[in-house]
């Protein structure tokens, strides 16, 4: 199976169980390499459906303070792009089968070499790429490489996206589409915007791809609410913050969030 197919299968499986897919984000190398592996393997064992594999960058301009701090720590501890792929390989060797979507800014990928990165990522066990500062207009090099390797090119849409923009972006997307819940950077919010369901519907009219919602979600009730309106729930900052305290704290929160997603079973 290609990465695209594995991602589609994970959403299909969740759909069969009449629930949304749960997709945790983790900042690779944070708080340490060993804890990264424990957190991801633990969340997978507890039922996470897919993962966002956060590749650190010195200048994460779409991220709020939590992810900024975690990725900065990872970099100062020497986490490189190659290390992230090695960790992915180790997780695969340890039996983690959930699809992995690499989430990383463009410059480290560009410097690594776009084609080389895609090939190495696919070989290590990555299934799709999310590059938050790379709109489809600039993905002329990345898209063909991903197509060749069977990796999904996962694009983001935002509440500010116009109808024309949505139409344009969905044509380039494979795997699923990442809907940014709020106008802003990553980070937990106490409330999600009231028109989130409308936004999901607006995109739904233009595509059959699974729609996962992320940014701002941190608590069980929020996960449940989002699971009720979308095909996937992405949680980043809240889990990263808990992971900074301990592996157990991250796994405890993960189980809460999974319960939230299951509560919305419809």
């Amino acid at each position: 199976m290609t990465g695209v197919e594995r991602i589609r299968a994970a959403f299909a499986q969740a759909g069969q169980e009449r629930r949304a897919a749960f997709m945790p984000y983790h900042a690779m190398g944070y708080p340490t390499r060993a804890e990264t592996l424990e957190i991801i393997a633990g969340l997978a064992a507890d039922g996470a459906d897919l993962f966002e594999i956060g590749i650190p960058h010195s200048d994460p301009l779409a991220d709020g303070p939590t992810v900024q701090g975690a990725t900065y720590t990872a970099i100062t501890q020497g986490t490189t792009v190659a290390d992230c792929l090695t960790m992915v390989r180790e997780l695969r060797d340890a039996g983690v089968t959930a699809p992995f979507c690499a989430m990383g800014y463009y410059n480290p990928i560009f410097r690594y070499g776009v084609e080389r990165f895609v090939a190495d990522a696919a070989a290590a066990g990555i299934d799709g790429l999310i590059v938050p500062d790379l709109p489809p207009e600039e993905a002329g090099e990345l898209e063909p490489a991903c197509r060749q390797a069977g990796l999904a090119t996962i694009y983001l849409l935002a509440p500010t996206s116009t109808e024309a923009r949505i139409r344009q972006v969905v044509q380039h997307a494979t795997g699923f589409i990442y809907l940014v819940s709020i106008t802003g950077t990553t980070g937990v919010r106490t409330e999600l915007p009231p028109d989130l369901a409308d936004f999901v519907q607006r995109v739904r009219r233009h595509t059959d791809l699974p729609l996962a919602v992320g940014f701002g979600i941190g608590a069980r009730a929020q996960a449940a609410a989002v699971a009720g309106i979308a095909d996937g729930v992405v949680v980043g900052s809240a889990l990263v913050k808990a992971g900074g305290e301990s592996v157990d704290a991250a796994l405890l929160l993960g189980r809460e969030l999974i319960k939230g997603v299951q509560e919305a079973r419809g």
């Binding site: 779409a62 900065y72 560009f110 500010t160």
Partner: protein
């Protein structure tokens, strides 16, 4: 080197419609901002073709900024260096003391007249762009927030106070190297969050399209004036210069004076980057001079030369001048360099300080430390040129803001 025959390039045709200068430029931003960039481009193109808008901007440039800024013949500096005749384009005499006001006022007026937004965010390094933005916001009655690295707030303290006096909120940035790059990250994060009400007033010829082209166009008034002043006015030499020298941080003062001269292929266009403590140790901001660290890359919305490590993480830079202390450079400069139309060199902190002292001693002008890099290069360049040749230096700003740094450095001067 043999002269290469080539078709004349129409420099005005760039960037292309997607905002690329050849392999450089583009729009590398989060999806949330893509509609705002389209809106900005539309508003800007409409304003450029709107006589009323352009007349209002020209009026403010005359009656508020004090344009045209003069060209000054630097007689004693010329005599001291013993080579080419040196002229200074006096952007230090523009209101607020630097060229930054040309762009800040242009964008603030654009927002006010053509966009349905009410709030401005900006970044600043040296504080000159922050002061120019705060000034324009006060003039036009717009709410304004400026992000500034805390290292820069300490070394450009007078400008922090000036911004606050002008009614702007200055927010210190503690991340990364606490300098210009980090201030831009924070300004972009604010913009992503408040994009429905807020315009990002970027201060150099950087960032995603349409900023590099728009900032260039607002700054091109420097070169347009200089073309007339050098070629035709009684105050100038009555002909175009043989070389133009400008410092290059993001590249806005340089592209502003270069652009109107691009078609005059006999005029050498020389950009001066910050060499900091020298290229070898890596403590500098000379993107074009360091083949190891200065590589093609993407930073803050645009593809250009970026100082970075082998893993694609952005390098920490150093310059004595906050305004040049940045890891990337405007994409049009990278492209013009590839065309062989512009050339780039660098001045170390020490050479810039030497230029600073010379201009104080010989011309009675205290330059900004950024501009002092352009002057510092004259020490090498002018003596190599004949006495009937002419150099025009873009004196991008005045040095009041730098007195703290210079006093601290006095022993070394």
């Amino acid at each position: 080197m043999a002269a290469v025959q080539r078709e004349p390039i129409n420099y005005n045709a760039w960037p292309d419609e997607d905002g690329h200068f050849g392999p450089y430029g583009g729009k590398f931003v989060p999806e949330t901002l893509m509609p705002a960039l389209d809106e900005l481009e539309e508003a800007y193109l409409a304003a450029r073709n709107d006589r009323e808008f352009m007349a209002e901007l020209a009026y403010l440039q005359r009656t508020y900024v004090g344009r045209p800024t003069p060209v000054t013949y630097a007689a004693r500096l010329t005599e001291y260096l013993g080579g080419a005749q040196i002229y200074l384009k006096r952007e230090d005499l523009a209101h607020t003391g630097a060229h930054k006001i040309n762009n800040a006022l242009g964008q603030a007026l654009l927002m006010k007249r053509k966009m349905g937004k009410t709030r401005i965010v900006a970044e600043t390094g040296a504080g000159q762009h922050g002061v120019a933005t705060a000034t324009s916001a006060a003039l036009l009655g717009i709410e304004c927030v400026v992000y500034m690295g805390t290292v820069d707030m300490a070394r450009q303290e007078p400008n922090v106070f000036r911004m606050r006096l002008l009614g702007t909120e200055v927010r210190g940035v503690e991340s990364g190297s606490k300098t210009l790059k980090d201030a831009i990250n924070e300004a972009i994060r604010d913009w992503v969050t408040n994009v429905n009400t807020t315009h990002y007033l970027l201060g150099s010829a950087l960032g995603p399209h349409p900023y590099p082209a728009m900032v260039r166009d607002f700054q091109s008034i420097i070169g347009q004036e200089a073309l007339v002043q050098m070629g035709e006015s009684d105050d100038g030499p009555g002909r175009l210069p043989d070389a133009i020298v400008a410092c290059v941080g993001g590249g806005s003062n340089a592209i502003g004076i270069f652009h109107p001269f691009l078609a005059y292929e006999d005029v050498r266009l020389i950009g001066v980057e910050a060499g900091g403590r020298g290229i070898e140790g890596g403590e500098h901001a000379a993107r074009f001079a360091d083949p190891e660290m200065g590589r093609l890359g993407v930073l803050q919305g645009t593809k250009s030369f970026v100082l970075q490590d082998s893993d694609g993480q952005i390098a920490l830079t150093h310059s004595i001048s906050a305004g040049l202390d940045y890891a990337s450079v405007g994409p049009e400069h990278a492209w013009l360099r590839d065309q062989g139309r512009t050339e780039y060199t660098y001045c170390t902190d020490e050479q810039a300080m030497a230029g600073f002292r010379l201009l104080c001693d010989l011309e009675g002008i205290i330059p900004a430390l950024e501009s002092a890099h352009a002057v510092g290069h004259l020490i090498d360049l002018a003596p190599q040129m004949a006495k009937d040749q002419i150099i025009l230096v873009n004196l991008s700003g005045r040095g009041d803001k730098d007195l703290g740094t210079v006093m601290g450095d006095w022993g070394a001067v």
